[in-house]
């Protein structure tokens, strides 16, 4: 299968479990040397996609290639070109970090001496060198993740897959993992990572593919996706239900977009691009009109809103 410069290419991938499709019509193109973030809620099909692309699972439909090799026909060649960090840290808990890395080095046919040397290098690089004989079972979540990353790059793979690399980690460990990933990327590794967090995709990825119900529903740079959503949200709650229409009118005029109104909760909400200007202008105009306000919040869109918005946009374009 030809690749046209893609480190990862998927066309119409489908994977079925019983009657339901975990993946259906899944298309993806990741250029060499870039970082692609697969962003989606729990159950969207991210792990299934990664498992198909890393030859762990056979797709029922469609084709995919990784590093120029078809995953179905040349799984062995794909496996020589990839590193995988799965959803849970797949390292031996009884062995020490060094013993783990030595084992994986031997399995990459480095021979015992080179495997030991490589293990030491990687321990140093991922700041695990002083863990000594300690079993991995006694590591913190962040240390385990870093060991997992180290194990996936014994042979500096051209393409690295990371499935939710920071889920369940505390902020400090998360920063450590992000740092390690950035270093790899700086060295030219192509990375495909999955995440449930917009922030993570934003920080690490060149391009984001939003996954929902087994397919990519939106694709673009983090900036593009954000502007499609209209950035942050401004929510305000009026005191008097009768003033709702007036407040909505002010918001429409100041922000220049049609707000959502929620009569039951006396709430007006809208996406804003210039946070501070929108907030000050709206508040000033409300005061001028003497509309009593109970609450005003400026907040980032929740992931639910992002998905809802992007899925709706997708449905409109396909309609």
């Amino acid at each position: 299968m030809e690749t046209t410069g893609g480190a990862v290419t998927a066309r119409g991938l489908g994977k079925r479990y019983g009657r339901s499709w975990a993946l259906r019509g899944f298309d993806l193109h990741v250029p060499v040397g870039s970082v692609c973030g697969l962003l989606g809620p729990n159950g969207a099909g991210k792990t299934t996609a990664v498992r198909v692309l890393t030859t762990l699972l056979r797709a029922d439909e469609g084709t995919a290639s990784v590093a120029g090799h078809d995953v179905a026909a040349h799984g062995d060649r794909v496996r020589r070109s990839i590193g995988l960090v799965g959803q849970n840290a797949a390292v031996d808990e009884v062995l020490s970090g060094r013993q783990n890395l030595e084992m994986f080095g031997r399995l990459h046919h480095l021979g015992s001496r080179r495997a030991a040397a490589r293990a030491d290098e990687l321990l140093e690089r991922f700041r695990l060198a002083d863990t000594g004989r300690k079993p991995v079972g006694a590591y913190s979540g962040g240390m385990r993740r870093r060991l997992d990353l180290a194990a996936s790059m014994i042979l500096a793979p051209p393409v690295l897959f990371l499935d939710e690399p920071t889920t369940g980690l505390d902020p400090r460990s998360r920063d450590e993992v992000w740092g390690a990933v950035r270093e790899l990327v700086a060295g030219g590794t192509t990375v495909l990572l999955t995440t449930q967090y917009l922030e993570e995709a934003d920080r690490l990825a060149d391009r984001i593919s939003v996954v929902s119900s087994g397919r990519v529903v939106a694709e673009g740079t983090p900036g593009e996706l954000k502007s499609r959503l209209g950035g942050d949200r401004l929510d305000l709650v009026v005191r008097d239900p009768a003033a709702l229409a007036g407040a909505a009118g002010i918001v429409r005029r100041v922000v220049g977009a049609e707000p959502d109104t929620d009569v039951e909760n006396r709430r007006v909400g809208v996406g804003v691009e210039d946070r501070v200007a929108a907030l000050t202008e709206v508040v000033r105009a409300l005061e001028e009109q003497r509309i009593g306000v109970e609450d005003v919040v400026l907040r980032r869109p929740t992931l639910d809103e992002v998905f809802l918005h992007l899925t709706e946009a997708e449905e409109e374009t396909t309609r």
Binding site: Y17, R51, T54, T55, L56, L57, R58, D76, R77, R79, R80, S81, I82, L84, G86, Q87, N88, A89, A90, V91, D92, E93, V94, L95, Q99, M103, F104, R106, L107, H108, H109, L110, R114, R118, E121, R125, P135, A151, S152, M153, I154, L155, A156, P157, P158, E183, L184, A186, G187, G188, T189
Partner: protein, 286 residues
Amino acid sequence: MNATAAPSAPSAAGPAHGEAGGFAARVRWAVADGWTITRRDVLHWLRRPGQLVAGLLFPVMMLLMFGFLFGGAMTVPGGGDYREFLMPGMFAMTMVFGVGETVTAVSHDMARGVTDRFRSMPMAPSAVVVGRCAADMLRSAITLAILLGCGLLAGWQWNGTGGEAAAAVGLLLLLRFSLVWLGIYVGLAVRGEGAVTAVHTLEFPLGFLSNAFAATATMPLWLGTVADWNPLSSTVTATRELFGNPGWGGETWIAQNALLMAVVWPLAIVAVFFPLCVRRYRDMAG
């Protein structure tokens, strides 16, 4: 190659994984990979000797319990020493019951994602399962050696030639070898805790529905027939014969051909489950 990412990182396309490797090279790497997997278990034993000892204690306890606690209450058909009669059954039972450890190890690796990591690496698809089997056989051999020693201390002995005794030990290990493949398959195919439960559910009928403790002739006909055709029974009868220990005898074809069947049964189980294991490991449907 990504020089900046990992200055001294060995190339992913190095000669070790080259396409050009012929059949001999592939076999050599499969063996090397299998040994690395086996070595992992050996390292486990070294790091957690307590676990290994605890695993060995169980069969020894069983042996002593059956040998001394119930020993007086049982009579051997046609006379003969009770413990001489009992030991071959105990040895064979231990071969059956140890399979739970295989299933636990395999399903633990599955649940932890370790199996997936191996599967995403360029290894021979047989290496992981073969390495697992080799490690378990190593442990079985140690267990059996200790049990034979305990048996001798408890008054058991073999009355045949050394060669016959060695053949009996070989048959016991062959039975375990076949069951290890069954255990690996269950570990790969059944997800989560279900796998261990499934094997414990299998172990008991396989262990007790046999001629290890009772003559099949004394059972209801259908039960006796099932017990007669239990692979464990063939191994027990054959090892009793080879060790020169007293047995139940038996008129049925299967009892008359115990030696043959003690070889045929395990080989048949391996012939079915080895290919299933390799296929399951490679494709991991579901």
